[in-house]
């Protein structure tokens, strides 16, 4: 912001009322402070203040070896921990030019999609709760539990599973993995229509979500809003399609695009993505090739000096990892382009002119995870 704009923004008129939404607020999943300027009940502008849970992950990565820093990336976007791990691993594998086994690619892709479903389930229940539908919270968590059980059986942890290692996986998946995943898909195909009956069709929900938070395609591209939030504005930004990684080039799936550009369109994109993720898993789960769970890697990984860049699609958008190596066993510089950081700063444009109660709906539809913003 130039100085003029800051001056313009900071000096409100006399009747303006400035309140702080957060840092502790039930609708911001994490610690985020929004400085909201109100005229009556209407939002004039808002300034996000970030950094409440800044842990310096990028700096901490510089002191860790490439195997050690994997567990830090879990803690950025904790709801898509698996994709975060994979982004770093792809970067390291690129740099070393290791050929990873097919089995690893398949399992990684299945886990990506399972994690995406789990993340969207949590978003769905929290979004419903933000808008006052508490029942949806229990229904979403009930089904998410099934995925977390699969994760727990295979990796031992439910949320922050540092399961992907450079070169492959930490260990092989549990023998029950295929069976339980298939059971879950069968179960969730029956339960997902319930979500629509419960919340999507609900008249109160629709009135609160439709026509709120209009984000044009230009705005989405301008702010770099990716993921389901960007695709709700008809912005085709799915990294799985643009630059396929893992086994995504072997499966048939549609990139879900919404044309409504409002909160409800973003909602519908996420609901449709859950169906699409189940399709992807069904195509892969029966065809997992036999083989090693990891490529042969040296115990101490040293990347050749240079710059490496990889991106993956997390549940919230495009995560890019940029590594600068000087040939040592630790990275010289590590930079994460996290999706939520870009998605947060479009909030001012979306919420200006709407009522303060709609601000909750709009920020909920962007599906913000605050540790990912602060990192």
């Amino acid at each position: 912001m130039s100085e003029e704009i800051i001056k313009d923004v900071m000096v409100g008129e006399n009747e303006d009322y400035i309140i702080n939404m957060g840092p502790q607020h039930p609708s911001t999943h994490g610690v985020l402070r929004l400085e909201v300027c109100l005229k009556g009940e209407t939002v004039k502008y808002l300034i996000p203040h970030i950094g409440y849970i800044h842990r310096g992950i990028e700096k901490m990565c510089e002191a860790d070896t490439y195997q050690q820093l994997i567990h830090l990336t879990d803690r950025m976007d904790y709801l898509s921990a698996h994709m975060n791990n994979e982004a770093v691993c792809l970067c390291v594998e690129d740099a070393l030019q290791v050929e990873i086994p097919e089995r690893v690619k398949y399992i990684r892709t299945i886990l990506d999609e399972l994690n995406r479903i789990a993340s969207h389930q949590l978003w769905w229940c929290a979004f419903g709760m933000d808008l006052g539908a508490l029942t949806s919270f229990f229904y979403g968590l009930r089904d998410r539990e099934h995925i977390l059980d699969i994760f727990e059986e295979s990796f031992g942890s439910r949320l922050l599973h540092s399961f992907v290692m450079p070169g492959g996986l930490m260990h092989d998946v549990h023998p029950n993995f295929q069976k339980r995943t298939k059971e879950f898909i069968k179960y969730f195909r029956k339960k997902l229509p319930e979500y629509d009956q419960l919340l999507t069709g609900n008249i109160i929900f629709q009135n609160r979500a439709k026509g709120i938070g209009y984000m044009s395609r230009e705005t989405a591209i301008g702010y770099g809003v990716t993921g389901p939030s960007g695709r709700g504005s008809n912005f085709a930004c799915d990294v799985r399609k643009i630059a396929p990684y893992g086994a995504y080039d072997k499966v048939q799936f549609n990139e879900i695009l919404g044309t409504g550009c409002d909160t409800f369109a973003r909602y519908q994109v996420r609901m449709a993505e859950m169906w699409e993720s189940m399709n992807i898993i069904e195509q892969l789960i029966d065809n997992i090739p036999e083989g090693d769970y990891t490529a042969k890697m040296k115990p101490i990984i040293k990347l050749p000096a240079g710059e490496y860049f990889r991106r993956v699609e997390t549940a919230r958008g495009e995560l890019a990892v940029y590594v600068v190596s000087d040939g040592n066993k630790t990275p010289y510089r590590m930079k994460f382009r996290t999706p939520n950081f870009s998605n947060l700063f479009v909030l001012n444009t979306l919420a200006s002119g709407h009522k303060i109660a709609d601000l909750i709906a709009i920020s909920g539809s962007l599906d913000l995870v605050i540790p990912d913003i602060d990192r």
């Binding site: 050690q68 567990h71 727990e152 031992g156 115990p299």
Partner: protein, 160 residues
């Protein structure tokens, strides 16, 4: 006139949408078999975690109070958070040579992030994940544990 018709169609559409939602919740209300809630503190006797569950790091000892840890320090080196400290000692063995044995394998549970690198990289499989997950204590110092039991010694066949 049109607006009145619109008003009533909207009203009935709205009511039917609410009814559709209530039908879902009502179905679960009258079928207790669909309840999935675990009564946690009451079911502690029967609660079993998965085999691979990462509860805490333990050092398995056999019936002779012997473990497999040679004190090489690879787990200490691989730990990203410094939650493992190994204090080694040199004692003469049967042939009179000085041999490295662990004095204390200290594990700071409060610093551990359960990444699993120590268990994976241990060359003699001396570490494993335990199933215990109730770690709440009143004093922080209780979270610092010594993994090797007092009086324990190195398993001879584990030595390479």
């Amino acid at each position: 006139m049109n607006s009145i018709i619109e008003y009533f169609t909207d009203l009935f559409k709205g009511l039917s949408s609410l009814w559709a939602g209530m039908r879902v919740t009502g179905k679960y209300f009258i079928s207790p078999g669909a309840i999935v809630t675990q009564q946690y503190p009451e079911n502690r006797k029967t609660l079993k975690m998965e085999d691979r569950f990462k509860g805490e790091i333990i050092m398995p000892h056999d019936e002779n109070n012997q473990h497999a840890c040679t004190g090489c320090g690879i787990c200490e080196m691989n730990c990203p958070n410094g939650s493992i400290e190994i204090i080694t000692d040199r004692v003469p063995n049967a042939e009179g040579k000085l041999e490295r044995v662990i004095d204390k394998h200290i594990y700071h549970l409060s610093m551990c992030t359960f990444c699993g690198l120590c268990v994976k990289t241990c060359p003699s499989n001396a570490l494993a994940f335990g199933q215990k997950f109730e770690h709440a204590v009143f004093d922080r110092s209780k979270l610092t544990k010594v993994l090797n039991q007092p009086g324990s010694s190195l398993k001879k066949e584990a030595k390479k």
